[in-house]
Each structure stands twice: as C-alpha cells, then as structure tokens.
Amino acid sequence: MLPRVAIQTEDFDVSQELTALRAHDLRVGAVCSFVGTVRDTRALTGVAQDEVQAMELEHYPGMTEKSIEAMIDEAHKRFDFYAARVVHRVGSLLPADQIVFVAVTSAHRGESFKACEFLMDYLKTQAPFWKKEQTPQGAQWVDARVADDAALARWGIDFNNA
C-alpha cells in the first residue's frame, strides 16, 4: 500500500500521485486534491522589497510524519473517505515550486472536499515545519498567521499556533 505520508526534498508529480492514490479502487467516485506552492509576494504587491528569491523549509524529522499520520486518523473519524495522501517538501525551494500535496478519495465529492480542507487546515497549524524566505533584506523566518488558527477553529479544534 502507498504510504500515507512522504516528507522529501524532491518534487512530486500530481498526476502520478493521484493515479497511485486511486489505485483502481472502483468504490472511488471523487478525488479532491490541493497543491501549495512558493509565492513570490512581490508579484502580489508590486513592492520590490517583498521579493521572495528562495525558500528554505525546515522540519522536525519523526514528529512531522507522526503528526500528519495522526491528522489523517482524525480525518477518518470525521469524514467518510477511502484514502488520503500527504506529500510535503523540505529543503531549498524557489518561487513557483510545489511545496505540499494533499489528496483524498471518496465515493462522493462532499467528503473528499471536506477531508482535504480539514487536513490542510490541520497541517498549517500542527505539523512542525518552518519556512525561511530569502528576500532582498536577507533571510527571514515566516510569521505564523492567526487566520490559520481561525481556519482550524471552524472544525471545532482550538489551538493557538500563531
């Protein structure tokens, strides 16, 4: 069986990931996926000093995998889906690079949409990853966002990460 969690420096192929996750399971009628990518904030604001030249992702080997496995277990308690897969890259990344992949299969779309969003909201506030951006002002650790805690709170989970 495909491992549910992969932490890797290499890029991932979304199409291959989705095919492997579906694995010819004939019960599946819906596949929902999310891809997070490296954003260059300058492209958003037009401000030169907002440029993100590169990103470095650090994590806590061991805890990262365990925490995401626990999130998938929690999602299974809440939503009726078949399989889930989370791939998260670490190390050096460039603008537009893929960072994270979450995908879920289910019989009908509602459950996979919800489980996919739940997993991302959970991951943003609970999985031990830290982003450091290389900018014209030097390297800066990214600040956590209160909005991400609010997103998790919608699922009835209170956790003050930011």
């Binding site: 997070g36 992702l57 650090e58 994590h59 806590y60 061991g62 805890m63 365990k66 925490s67 998260h88 960072i99 994270v100 991302m120 991951l123 943003k124 506030t125 609970q126 999985a127 031990p128 990853f129 830290w130 982003k131 450091k132 650790w141 990214v142 600040d143 956590a144 991400d148 956790f159 990460n161 930011a162």
Partner: protein, 83 residues
Amino acid sequence: MKIQVRYFASLRETIGLAAEDVDTACEDVASLRLELIARGGAHAECLAIERPVRVAVNQVMAHDATPLSAHCEVAFFPPVTGG
C-alpha cells in the same frame, strides 16, 4: 533525571544548538522552560514567557502542564509555518 532538549528554526539559530542533554528535576514543561530561561543569554531571549514558543514532548504537541519523564525528548520551537 536526564532529558534531551531540542530546538528548531529561529530558536535553534539564536541559541546556536540543535539539541542538548539536560539534567533536571523539573516535572513539567512550564518549569523546564523557566529553568532554561534562568540560564540567561540566548536561552532567556528565545524562551521568554511573552514569546510565542511551542513545545512538543516525545514528538507530540504539548502544553505548560505536560509532564516530563526520564529520557523524554522536549522540543521548543516557534509557531509552525508549513503548508
């Protein structure tokens, strides 16, 4: 008792250490944090009570009252920013 303390991201950089073995009588996360702050220097700066520091014990998210045990692994880190 002996425990291992680990630091990640900005805490690791400022303290200048990824991990250290600590001999302590502290029974929970809150008292360990205060003991490390009492050392002064980078530890006091990074772990200051008003700073948003997150903690894991044995690789599970923890809080102030989480108990410590011999040979446990306690990690201090800033709010997480993955995804």
